[in-house]
């Protein structure tokens, strides 16, 4: 599974639209499982499944009718499409709801039906464009488990998301994109390593002792400790024994700490390091960027 991570407007959906033949590329070319997205689009469409941001199901059809329709549009006969629909409904815990029109479904059920529709033809490659946006935490977890099961069965998945925890949990490899460009790619661990790996972080009881604490902790690393008010942190090579050592050094220097912890970098840190912007307040940043562009 490849996770494509980026803020709103980074170009994730556009990339998916190009790869699923919905949008011809302005320039350059792209291929999926060796099929060109423009020249071999019809053949490619038979090999891919797409579940998008909008839970694209017909609300006036039942769950079964939705899946049978999609199956028949893939060229299956009615009976075969029906059999596949039953299989998928069963798998996605929608068997009971299968006869009800989709309008009556909850958000999570619709997403599951949408995902089921993407799987009707058992495609080797699946595109999931922000599949959990707008879902409640429980539905989100359920969908994650379903996606993990698919990957375990050998489906190749391209997942776009603006949630770091989602990419971290699901993706084998992550491509971070920003303003239409891949700015980093690798495993979650590799990306985290790029922003400085593990750090030990201490919160001092008395902020005025921060300089002393930095001096006390300095021998633990080749890098200089960073001081931010009452918080002092330093990069460390490994986790084992680190907390004990930091606590001992502070104790020897007679400095009290409220908290000593080893902190692993999050993908938030990755994004911040790579772009100088926080993922979370991207919305505000974006409009500022737009203004800059207009001014330029």
């Amino acid at each position: 599974m490849l996770g494509v991570l980026g803020p709103n407007g980074a170009g994730k959906t556009t990339a998916v639209r190009v790869l699923t033949t919905l949008l011809p590329p302005d320039a350059g070319d792209a291929s999926v499982i060796g099929l060109d997205v423009v020249a071999e689009a019809p053949a490619l469409r038979a090999q891919i499944g797409l579940a998008g941001q909008y839970a694209a199901v017909d609300e006036n059809l039942t769950g079964i009718e939705n899946l049978v329709m999609v199956g028949r549009l893939y060229g299956k006969r009615r009976a075969e499409a029906r059999r596949r629909a039953d299989e998928l409904l069963d798998r996605f815990s929608l068997s009971e709801a299968g006869g009800r029109i989709a309008k009556t479904y909850s958000g999570g059920m619709r997403r599951r039906l949408d995902l089921a529709a993407a799987l009707v033809a058992d495609p080797p490659v699946l595109f999931l464009d922000e599949p959990t946006t707008g879902l409640d935490p429980r539905s989100r977890l359920e969908l994650w488990e379903t996606i993990e099961a698919l990957v375990a069965e050998g489906t190749t998945v391209l997942l776009t998301t603006q949630y770091l925890d989602e990419a971290d949990r699901l993706a084998d490899r992550i491509a971070v994109i920003d303003r239409g460009r891949v700015i980093a790619d690798g495993t979650a661990d590799e990306l985290k390593e790029r922003v400085g790996g593990l750090r030990v972080e201490v919160h001092l009881t008395d902020a005025s002792r921060a300089a002393d604490a930095a001096m006390a902790l300095a021998p633990m690393s080749e890098e200089q400790p960073a001081v931010d008010d009452a918080r002092v942190s330093v990069r460390v090579a490994r986790e084992q024994g680190t907390i004990m050592e930091a606590a001992r050094r502070l104790d020897q220097a007679g400095i009290d700490a409220d908290d000593v912890a080893v902190r692993r970098p999050t993908l938030d840190d990755v994004f911040l390091t790579l772009t100088g912007r926080e993922l979370a307040d991207e919305e505000g940043e974006q409009s500022a960027d737009e203004r800059e562009e207009v001014a330029a």
Partner: protein
Amino acid sequence: MSRFVPDTLVMAERNLVRLPRSPDLLIGFTIQPVMFVLLFAFVFGGAISTPGFDYIDFLIPGIIVQNTAFGGFVTALGLAEDLTKGLIDRFRSLPTSRASVLAGRTLADVVTNSLSIVILVGTGLIIGFSFQTGILEILAGFALLLLFGYAFSWIFALIGMSVSSPEAANGIGFTIIFPITFISSAFVPVESMPAGLEKFAEINPITIVVDAMRALWLGVPAGNNVWGAVVWCLVLIAIFAPLAVRKYRRTAGR
């Protein structure tokens, strides 16, 4: 292209299956046109002079044509809705024939138009309309209505693919198409209109089709109107079907 026919049938079936589940649409096809017939026949009928005709006889072919023009409206609404809901993206990501989504829509309209036409003719017969011609002409009239409705379905398909929301489709339908159907011979003789409007009404395809219907059902001499009407319908399809399909191929979601 070999998938065009089966895919189109799947899409048509989808549109027909969901119809009874949208009672508001169903009312639009059945009760609303009947209400218009009754309003025109009994509220305006006494005030409109139609020399040589009983107003009911004059009205029924006209109002059925007007109603049939709007039969395809559900196509515009449905496509606009499919676009906003992301269904068009789903269909476009499937290995379907590119024209089948729209062809299925317009084909479903033929079925609903048939229903509306039968209901309207029945209503007409109850309030005093009578056919003045033979069975062949009457059937030819039904066929012309369906062809005409099909042509308008493609116009609405293009509208549906071009607008941003179902509400916008509604707006265009009622501000552009509605007046065009009224500035015609559907409800009043065109000679009663001011000169400018009369000119427009005379070349309006609606007038041509309405006159052809009066020829086929009432036996009024129609000149070349029947064939003229058929040609008009075919020309509309030849223009709007490729435009709508082209729009479908290129349209992005939302």
